[in-house]
């Protein structure tokens, strides 16, 4: 865990403590379990987003993909009697294909990722609404998928605390992503491409493939999140379901130390960023702040957080510059300019 992650954790604990002091219901088992369920679902697509941001891209269609694939998933298992495991696989595959298309458009056609995924945002949202004729897609009376429901939206008691399975899913995803990003060769390549694509290419990294892979991973994880959301909400109004989620994802990634210029960010940070956003959401509810102010609170806290971080970074740089001058001059006295 680096310094940035640590300060984020401290911030979460401080905000949590303040909320708990003002309204002890924050710490009720039911409330914590619900918040963690949200963290699980939001965390998965935030990690998805982080992969793309780390290679210097951006993915704006996350929310629309969650709506479209959610609608399709429910339609497949409810109206078309497709085996849920098959449907699950089909939806994940669709997410991967969407990512592949985005990645190909960005790398092969050289369209800016912002533009590609903005078009995606519009197209998938429109497709979802058209597909359902703007009606709500949901489970009819008696429709029941006990195993699927337990797996996705269920909770398991652990020492008296109902652990939401979405959180378990997030922990698994985050663990794999952490190993992939911070310990594997592929992770090195992702960061290298994000920092300097040209230098990466000159080092023999097939940067286009790496970039496409990032979009594909993002698409697949987003599809997984889409299924979790569909099973959690149980009914989807395609016009609003998942809207603005891409911004939650970007916010979590930025809070977690990702730079929109690419090449930076940690998985622990992204997860903590998600936690902070959900705690803030919870804070608005628990402190009786009008829910219309929801976004404003979130925006203000992120801004303050980023400003504080910037201030700390600058200060650290000044301090280490003063120190570094002595150090490098001792180590490399004859050559340092």
């Amino acid at each position: 865990m680096n310094k940035k992650d640590l300060s984020l954790l401290v911030l979460i604990l401080v905000v949590g403590a303040v909320v708990a002091l003002i309204n002890p219901r924050f710490l009720y088992v039911g409330n914590l379990s619900n918040t963690l369920n949200q963290v699980g679902m939001f965390g998965i697509f935030s990690i998805a987003e982080a992969f793309v941001i780390i290679i210097g891209g951006i993915e704006l269609s996350v929310g629309s993909v969650i709506a479209l694939l959610g609608v399709l998933f429910i339609d497949l298992i409810v109206n078309h009697d497709v085996n849920w495991m098959l449907a699950f696989a089909a939806i994940i595959a669709s997410g991967l294909v969407i990512g592949l298309v985005h990645g190909a458009l960005v790398t092969r056609m050289h369209i800016q990722p912002f533009v590609v995924t903005l078009c995606g945002l519009l197209i998938y949202r429109g497709a979802a609404r058209y597909y359902t004729e703007d009606a709500t897609a949901g489970f009819g009376f008696g429709a029941s998928f006990p195993t699927l429901e337990w797996l996705t939206a269920g909770r398991t008691d652990l020492l008296g605390f109902p652990v939401p399975h979405s959180l378990v899913a997030l922990i698994v995803v985050a663990a794999i992503a952490w190993v992939l990003l911070h310990r594997s060769v592929f992770g090195r390549y992702l960061y290298a491409v994000g920092k300097n694509e040209e230098a990466a290419r000159y080092s023999g990294i097939r940067s286009e493939r790496v970039m496409i892979s990032a979009y594909v991973i993002c698409g697949g994880l987003t599809a997984f999140a889409a299924i979790l959301f569909a099973m959690y909400t149980r009914s989807i109004s395609p016009a609003v379901h998942g809207s603005f989620y891409e911004l939650y994802a970007i916010a979590a990634a930025v809070l977690g130390g990702c730079s929109l210029r690419g090449g930076e960010g940690s998985i622990v940070g992204v997860v903590l960023g998600t936690v902070l956003l959900q705690v803030l959401q919870n804070l608005v509810n628990l402190l009786g702040i009008p829910s219309s102010l929801n976004f404003a609170v979130m925006g203000a806290v992120i801004l303050i957080g980023v400003l504080a971080d910037q201030y700390l970074v600058q200060r650290r740089l000044r301090v280490s510059a003063a120190k570094g001058r002595t150090q490098t001059s001792l180590a490399a006295a004859p050559l340092e300019g």
Binding site: R183, V185, Y191, R325, L335
Partner: protein, 500 residues
């Protein structure tokens, strides 16, 4: 020579733990051309920053027109007529020439909107262009200008501010030979108008060509000044490094073997009508000389798979190979050390160890994961072998000096047993000491059978290091030279397309 208008007396500057300048004195007379030379880190740039008002000296006095101060501010420096032409030019790509020269001082029409008076702007720019003999118009977009032309724009900017002293930091480091010649003429023209010049350079023949005086700094101290009559490369080098630099050339341990890399009728995008053929033999350094823009870098990029090869073939040990990506070239043992170190060669804010392992990560695997212990170990070994001066291999590359950065790029490939090494401008922006170490490393490599193709615009380097020279002119080879034929004259002749 008239009285100096600017004098630095006993200037010192120390940072915690290091003395950058140690009682340095320098006087500048009107119309004087002073070359400031010394290894990287000798304090040249710091001294110039003191003149420009960017760095406040910790001791000493600055006398301008008889007025004495302990330091200059940037505004005072400009008012005193001191102007900088930076190494990395500070110009706006999206403006035209005149817009750049008068940026922030544009002539305006009257009225509340303060619209720019384009006519007056161009009229004010034209005389400056004429004064420098520039071959472009005041309304030429900057984006279309070459680096050399941009430099002239910077100089015009200085002149438009009534500069009496123009400071140039390595002005010729990325210019072609003919552009350098033109810059020398510009310097002469400025001198004739009474403008003084201080230029920092690593190229001693330029000092010979145009300096009235060479001032040599070493480790923050002024170790000597050579008058025009005393100037000689040997004298300058002796002062710079404090010892005589023996001849650069080290003969190979064994005569070169058979051809390792054959480039057969290669065609690149830049010169679609021209084809290049050359072979690099086992154990030799083939220098590839030519003017900037003659297609050398493009050839290297095509051989390395960065750019597509439009025709012809590449053979490795006699067998034709297909290289469509750098990965393919690397898998064949052909490595490129690119000209643009910071843009293409390194990840600047990543550690030395991670930079070195990047092209070869798959050989550091342990259960699918990167074995960082092995990575660090190998990086330390390379640091030892190449004498990379850094506190540790976890140091970020961006904080190293140019020479040490170049060694890190070299280290990337050394652990991968190169067959062919293409080295594009091996010592650009590298100080004298590190240069020597890089040359020694090249020779050690060829003695183990590596074939090296060394692209260089530095005449001293091409002639001093190569076993054989190929010269390119406008996308084709204009001739080969053996060591017996090596001379600046011969290389230049071929570079401009004449036969020897």
């Amino acid at each position: 020579m008239t009285e100096p208008f600017l004098e630095l007396v006993d200037i010192s500057k120390s940072y915690p733990g290091v003395v950058a300048l140690d009682h340095v004195g320098l006087a500048v007379s009107p119309g004087e051309v002073i070359a400031l030379i010394g290894e990287n880190g000798a304090g040249k740039s710091t001294l110039m920053k003191v003149l420009g008002g960017v760095v406040e000296p910790s001791g000493g006095r600055i006398r301008v027109d008889g007025v004495e101060r302990s330091a200059l501010t940037v505004a005072e420096a400009i008012a005193a007529g001191i102007a900088f032409v930076h190494q990395e030019l500070n110009l706006f790509d999206n403006l035209d020439v005149a817009g750049n020269v008068f940026i922030g001082r544009e002539p305006v029409h009257g009225g509340p909107l303060r619209l720019i008076d384009r006519k007056a702007l161009y009229a004010k720019t034209q005389p400056l262009l004429d004064r420098l003999g520039a071959d472009f118009a005041p309304d030429a977009p900057l984006a279309g200008l070459s680096l050399a032309q941009r430099q002239l724009v910077e100089i015009m900017k200085a002149l438009s501010l009534d500069a009496r002293l123009v400071i140039m930091d390595e002005p010729t480091s990325s210019l072609t030979l003919s552009e350098t010649d033109r810059l020398m003429r510009v310097i002469a023209a400025l001198k004739a108008h009474g403008v003084s010049i201080i230029f920092i350079t690593h190229r001693l023949n330029e000092v010979m060509q145009c300096a009235d005086r060479a001032v040599v700094l070493r480790d923050g101290r002024m170790v000597g000044a050579l008058t025009r009559a005393e100037l000689s490369p040997a004298a300058m080098i002796r002062l710079m490094i404090g010892r005589d630099l023996k001849s650069l050339y080290v003969p190979p341990a064994a005569p070169p073997g058979e051809a390792v890399l054959d480039i057969v009728e290669a065609v690149t995008d830049t010169y679609p009508e021209r084809a290049v053929s050359l072979s690099v033999r086992r154990g030799e350094i083939l220098g590839l000389a030519g003017l900037v823009g003659s297609g050398r870098t493009e050839l290297a990029r095509a051989v390395f798979g960065v750019d597509p090869l439009r025709g012809g073939a590449i053979k490795l040990n006699g067998e034709a190979i297909r290289v469509t990506t750098p990965r393919a070239a690397i898998d064949h043992g052909i490595y490129l050390i690119p000209e643009d170190r910071k843009g293409c060669g390194l990840l600047l804010d990543v550690s030395i160890a991670e930079n070195i392992s990047l092209p070869d990560l798959s050989s550091y695997l342990r259960f699918f994961l990167v074995n960082t212990a092995q990575e660090t170990k190998n990086a330390r070994a390379q640091r030892e072998q190449l004498k990379i001066r850094a506190p540790d291999v976890s140091t970020t590359v961006g904080s190293l000096s140019g020479g040490n950065q170049q060694k890190v790029v070299l280290a990337k490939w050394l652990s991968m047993r190169p067959k062919v090494l293409i080295f594009d401008e091996p010592t650009r922006g590298v100080d004298v000491g590190a240069k020597q170490e890089i040359y020694e490393m090249l020779r050690r490599l060829t003695d183990t059978g590596v074939a090296i193709l060394m692209i260089s615009s530095d005449m001293e380097e091409v002639i001093g290091v190569s076993d054989r020279i190929a010269v390119m002119h406008e996308g084709a080879i204009s001739g080969f030279l053996d060591r017996s034929q090596f001379s600046e004259h011969n290389v230049l002749q071929l570079a401009v397309g004449h036969a020897v």
